[in-house]
Subunit: 506 residues, 2 copies
C-alpha cells in the first residue's frame, strides 16, 4: 500500500510550487505591462530570487524520498499500482519535472541563466545594427548549453532532447515524417495561389482609431466566451497569454493604427490559449496537471480559434456589421466577402509572425530543418544566415535582404529555446485533427458559429480535450480524442479546400 | 573585531528579504488594481505562501547567530563598536525586526492572521448593514490579539507596545502631551471659523470629466517632480503608495466626477509619500534602512505636500490657468482666490478621510483617546459606538447618525491596527516643524513654489531628511533636522495664521 501521508505531503509541495510559479508569472506579466523603465534590473533580481526558491521547492531531497515512498521510479514514474489513475498521472508529471531539474547541476543552471541574460541584449543589438556577428558568439554559447542540457538528460541525439521540452513524446524523426509531406503540399499550393487573381487588401492598411480597436477586441473576446471575471486583456509589445491563477488568465494584444486586423487575430489567438488554461477541471487546478499536454497542443487551441474559426466567413457573419459600424469610413464600401478574402490573403513574406495561414508552417519547417542540421553538425552557427536565405528562397520564393529580416527575426534562439519552433506547426496539425472530430460530434457547428453561439464548441473542447490537462501525453491524448495518431492529412485537406474555394482554383 | 563574513551574510539575507517583500507588495498592488474578481481567494493563498517564506527568511536561526557574531544584543543592538555608524544602524534595525518577529510564537502569528482574515469581511458586512454587533465579536478578538502581541514584546502598557509598531520611540504619554494642547487650540479655532462668513464651494460639486481629471492629475504629479521612469500613477478604490523596488514606487488616486478636487489632493498626498521613498540614498536602497523613520514621519511628507504646499495660493498660481482651461465651463467664473478659499474650506463632518486641514487632527485625537481608554480598560469594545458619538459632538460639534458614519468608518481596527491613527496627526506636527526649518534654509521658498520650481525644496528634503532613511529614530532625526524635540506649536501657529487670513478672523 502506498503511504497516504507521503502523497499528501507531495501534493502540498506541488501546490506551493504552483502558487510560487504563478507569483513569478505575475512579476513577468507586470514587467511586460507596467514596469517603470528604470526598475528593470531590480525586477530581474526579484525574479532570480523567486526562481531560486521555486527550484529549491521542486528539487528538494524530500521530494525524492516522497517519490520513493510512493513507488515512483524513473522506470515506473506512476508509482504504486494501488494508486488511482489520477494520482499515478500526478506522480508521472511531478517525477518527470523532478528528474529533469535534478539532472542539471546547480552550477550549469546558474551559468546558463547568466549566459541567457547576456545573449538577449546582444540579439537585440544585433537586430538593431543588422549585424549577425554581434549575436554569433552568444548563439554559439546557447548551442553549447543546449547540447549539454540534452546530454545531462541522457539523450544521444541532442535535438531529440530539446524537442522533448516542448513535445514530450516526439523525436526529430517523428516530426520529419510529418513535416516532409506538409512542406510539399504547401509549396505546391502556394505556387497555384500565386498564379490566381489576388484580393485587394488596401482597405486593411488604412488608419483605424486605436480606442475603437480596443472596444472591438474586447467585444470579440467576450463574443467567443472569455470570462472577464477570470482574466484580463491588456496591451504589450508582443501578444501573450499567462496564467496567474486558476481564475486569473491574462492575455495581451497590440494595436497598430494601420493594421487593425492584426490586433483582432492576436486577441482571438490568445483567447484560444486562455480558454484552454481556464478550462482545466477544478480537481486538477492548482496542481502540476493543470497545464497544456504540450506546447503543440496549446498552439492547436490558439490556432483553431484564430484561423479555423476566426478567419471563417461564418465567424464574421454576426460581427462584421459591428466592425463596419465602428469603422464606417474605412469599411462601408467593403462587402463581407471581400473582407474575408482580404484577411485570408496568401502572400509569402520574410517575417514569420506576419505570415498567412498557408505560408506559416513553411516558416516553421525552415526553422526545424535548420535546427536539425545545426545539432547534427551539418551546419555551424556561422552557416545559419546563408542557409536561412537559401531555404527562404526555396520554400517561399522570398528574397531576404537583411539578417534582421532573416536569421535574427525571432527571439527564441537568443533564449536558448531550440526545439520550440516545431510546436507552432504541430499546433496546426493537432488542431485540424481535433476539429474534424469535433465536426463529427457537432455537425451543425458552422451554423452555430454563424449564430454567434459557441457554447456547444466550448463544452465539447472542455469535456473532450481540456479535461485531461497534462495527464496524458499529447499522442495518447490525440488517440483518445480522435482515435488516430497525428497525421498532416487533415490540415492539408482543410487548407486545400479552403484556399481552392477562396482563390477559385481549378 | 567583528566578523566581516557574518556581516556580508547578514546583508545578503536582508537584501533577499527585501526583494521578497517587494514581490509581495506587487501581489498586493495587483490585487487592488488588476485582479479579476474570481481570483481573490487564490491570490490570498499566494500571499500567504510568500509571507511565510519571508517570515522564515527574517527569523531563521542563522540570523540570530550572525547577530551574535557581530556583537548585536537586545541591549546593544548596534553590535561591535568597531563597526561603522552605518553598519551599526543597519544592525539596530535588523535586530529590532528580528526580535519583534521571533518573540511572537508561530502559533500566535497563524491564529492572528486567520482572525484578521475573518474580521475584515465582518467589518465590511457590518458597515453595509450599519450593524456594529456584526463586527463586535471580531473587534473583541482583535483587541485580545493586540494585547497578547504587546505582551509578547514585553510591554506593561499594552497601548505603548502598539504605538511602538508605528512610532518606535513614542509612548501614549508622549502623544497625550502633544495632543492635549493641539486639541484645545483646534477646537477653539473651529468655533471662531464657524462664526465667520463661509466661502462658497458649490463649483467644486459640479461634474468634471474623468478623462480630463486624469490628464490634470498626471500633470500635477509631474509638476511636483515625480519621475515616471521610476514609478506609476494608477486608479484604486482607496489611494495608496507602495514601493515595489528602488526605482518602482507606485501611487494611486481615485476619480469622482462631482468631486474633482479630491483626486488632485490625493495625488499630491501620495506623491509626497513617493518622493520620500524614491529619495533614500542609493547606498541604503535595497536594505532594511530604505524605509521611513516612522509612519508619522512618512505622513509628514505626504501632508506637507498635500496641505502646506498643495493648498497654498502660491502652488496654484502656475497651475490654476491650466485647470481653468481644462474645465472651462465649471471654472471660468471662479477667481483663483475663491478657488483657494474653497479648497481650504473648514467644515467639520463625520468622516475622517473627507476632513479639512483643521478638523483632521481632531478626528485623530478622538481615535487616540478611544484606543487609549480601550486598552487601559476605561472603555470596553461595546462602549465604542456611544463614546464615538459623544466625543464627535464634543470635539467637532458633529452629530453621528449611523455607526457606518461613526465607529465603523475606518478599516484599521478590523485589521488589528491599533496604535496606527496617532501617526496621521503626528505627521502634521512633524511636517510643520520640518517645514519651518526648511523655510529658514530657503527663505524664498514660496517664490519658488509660485514659479513652479521645486528643485531646491526637493534637494533640501533629500539631503536633510530622506538621507537618513530608517537609520535614526524619528525623535533623533527630528532633533538632527530641526534642532528641537517635537512640539505642536509650529503646526498650531501655521494653522492659526493660515485660517485667520483665509477667514479674515479677528
Amino acid at each position: 500500500m502506498p503511504k497516504i501521508g507521503s502523497l499528501t505531503q507531495l501534493h502540498q509541495i506541488d501546490r506551493e510550487a504552483r502558487l510560487l510559479e504563478r507569483a513569478i508569472a505575475l512579476l513577468h506579466w507586470d514587467m511586460d505591462i507596467n514596469l517603470p523603465p528604470k526598475a528593470v534590473e531590480e525586477r530581474s533580481d526579484q525574479l532570480a530570487l523567486l526562481e531560486g526558491l521555486s527550484h529549491e521547492m521542486l528539487t528538494g531531497k524530500i521530494n525524492g524520498r516522497l517519490l520513493d515512498d510512493l513507488g515512483s521510479t524513473p522506470e515506473n514514474p506512476g508509482g504504486d499500482e494501488g494508486l488511482s489513475p489520477a494520482e499515478r498521472d500526478f506522480l508521472k508529471v511531478f517525477r518527470r519535472n523532478y528528474d529533469r531539474l535534478t539532472k542539471l547541476p546547480a552550477r550549469f543552471v546558474k551559468d546558463a541563466a547568466r549566459a541567457e541574460g547576456l545573449s538577449q541584449p546582444a540579439w537585440v543589438k544585433a537586430r538593431k545594427n543588422n549585424d549577425f556577428s554581434i549575436f554569433l558568439p552568444h548563439l554559439k554559447k546557447m548551442v553549447e548549453i543546449a547540447r549539454k542540457k540534452s546530454s545531462y538528460w541522457g539523450y544521444e541525439n541532442t535535438y531529440d532532447g530539446l524537442i522533448s521540452i516542448y513535445e514530450p513524446d516526439m523525436t526529430q524523426e517523428d516530426i520529419s515524417r510529418l513535416f516532409t509531406p506538409l512542406k510539399d503540399s504547401l509549396v505546391k499550393l502556394i505556387k497555384q495561389i500565386q498564379k490566381a487573381p489576388q484580393p485587394n487588401p488596401d482597405f486593411l492598411k488604412l488608419v483605424y482609431d486605436v480606442k475603437k480597436q480596443e472596444t472591438f477586441n474586447r467585444e470579440v473576446m467576450n463574443h467567443i466566451g472569455f470570462d472577464e471575471e477570470r482574466g484580463r486583456l491588456d496591451v504589450s509589445v508582443h501578444p501573450f497569454t499567462t496564467s496567474l491563477g486558476t481564475d486569473d488568465v491574462r492575455i495581451t494584444t497590440r494595436y497598430v493604427p494601420d493594421n487593425m486586423i492584426s490586433s483582432v487575430f492576436s486577441t482571438i489567438h490568445e483567447t484560444g490559449h486562455a480558454l484552454y488554461e481556464l478550462g482545466f477541471p477544478r480537481e486538477i487546478q492548482g496542481t502540476c496537471l493543470a497545464d497544456g499536454a504540450s506546447m503543440g497542443i496549446h498552439e492547436s487551441q490558439s490556432r483553431l480559434w484564430e484561423n479555423v474559426i476566426g478567419r471563417s466567413r461564418e465567424f464574421w457573419t454576426p460581427l462584421y456589421g459591428r466592425l463596419q459600424h465602428l469603422f464606417q469610413k474605412q469599411l462601408d464600401p467593403v462587402r463581407i466577402d471581400d473582407f474575408i478574402k482580404a484577411v485570408n490573403r496568401v502572400e509569402p513574406s520574410c517575417i514569420r509572425v506576419d505570415a498567412d495561414e498557408v505560408s506559416y508552417s513553411l516558416h516553421i519547417i525552415l526553422r526545424f530543418e535548420l535546427e536539425k542540421q545545426l545539432f547534427s553538425g551539418v551546419l555551424t552557427p556561422e552557416d545559419l544566415p546563408g542557409a536561412w536565405r537559401s531555404m527562404m528562397k526555396e520554400y517561399l520564393g522570398v528574397d531576404i535582404n537583411t539578417d534582421t529580416q532573416g536569421v535574427l527575426q525571432d527571439v527564441h534562439w537568443s533564449m536558448g529555446s531550440f526545439g520550440y519552433f516545431p510546436s507552432y506547426a504541430l499546433g496546426n496539425l493537432y488542431g485540424l485533427q481535433i476539429w474534424n472530430r469535433l465536426k463529427k460530434d457537432i455537425p451543425q457547428v458552422y451554423t452555430q458559429i454563424e449564430a454567434g453561439s459557441f457554447r456547444e464548441i466550448q463544452t465539447w473542447l472542455r469535456d473532450t480535450l481540456y479535461v485531461w490537462g497534462k495527464r496524458l501525453s499529447p499522442s495518447d491524448m490525440l488517440v483518445k480524442v480522435t482515435g488516430k495518431a497525428l497525421s498532416p492529412a487533415p490540415f492539408v485537406q482543410y487548407i486545400k479546400d479552403k484556399y481552392t474555394d477562396l482563390y477559385g482554383l481549378g
